[in-house]
Symmetry: C2
Subunit: 119 residues, 2 copies
Amino acid sequence: MVQCINAPLDRTFAALSDATRRGIIEQLARADASITSLADHFQMTLTGMKKHVQVLERAGLVITQKVGRVRTCTLGTRSLSAEAEWIEAYRMLFEARFEALDEIISEMTQEENDGAAGH
Amino acid sequence: MVQCINAPLDRTFAALSDATRRGIIEQLARADASITSLADHFQMTLTGMKKHVQVLERAGLVITQKVGRVRTCTLGTRSLSAEAEWIEAYRMLFEARFEALDEIISEMTQEENDGAAGH
DNA sequence: GATACACTGAACCATATGGTTCAGTGTCTA
DNA sequence: TAGACACTGAACCATATGGTTCAGTGTATC
């Protein structure tokens, strides 16, 4: 196996693959919130919301703390740097391919011009 | 519902949440490959590999073309810009929170200093 | 102390995911 | 034309996901 098995990356991308969870993150970026208020906002049962929050928590994107009977959700301490890095690396590869293509094209153009000069 | 339902974002993040699929992308960044060669590289059945490639294809990350009996997989035309933007927006929110925290802390320090000066 | 509130856990359901095997179909190649 | 090769599709399996209901447990509040 060549590919690196990176469970945190797995979990984070999986956590981000759901619109509700991305919405929760956007919501928490504005202000901390309880499970109840989030469930209310996303029109979902408490239990359903708790599951989403757990997924986000496992991915390190959200931190929760229970005080009294209220569990407050806060944006986590991770800045998604590993994920940003992966995507950035991909984009660089992607750009590199186009640059390579550009090179090939310019080489071809060069050859064409040389060929034209030769005639 | 406030959150934006963004199916492409869903599909891309879901596609990236699997280490094998990230490996396939890395592999295709080096060179185009057939289903067979990918299946071989990742020690998986052809059928299994085809499913992974289909997931990547649906997410627009990979393009495939069948010539003769060989289906060749190429890196897609998408540069993951929407995904990079989402993550960047998140990181800005994240940083903003720390800046706000910094402000609060500096305000607190200011007050402390003022208090010390008052004594 | 009764009642309402906020969450929790178990159980259930439908569907998706990640993999397999097996039986084709179509394409090279000797 | 026979055989090998590359893929495809259906069927199956175990597990995960995204949701629900229902029955608690613990905490505020009147």
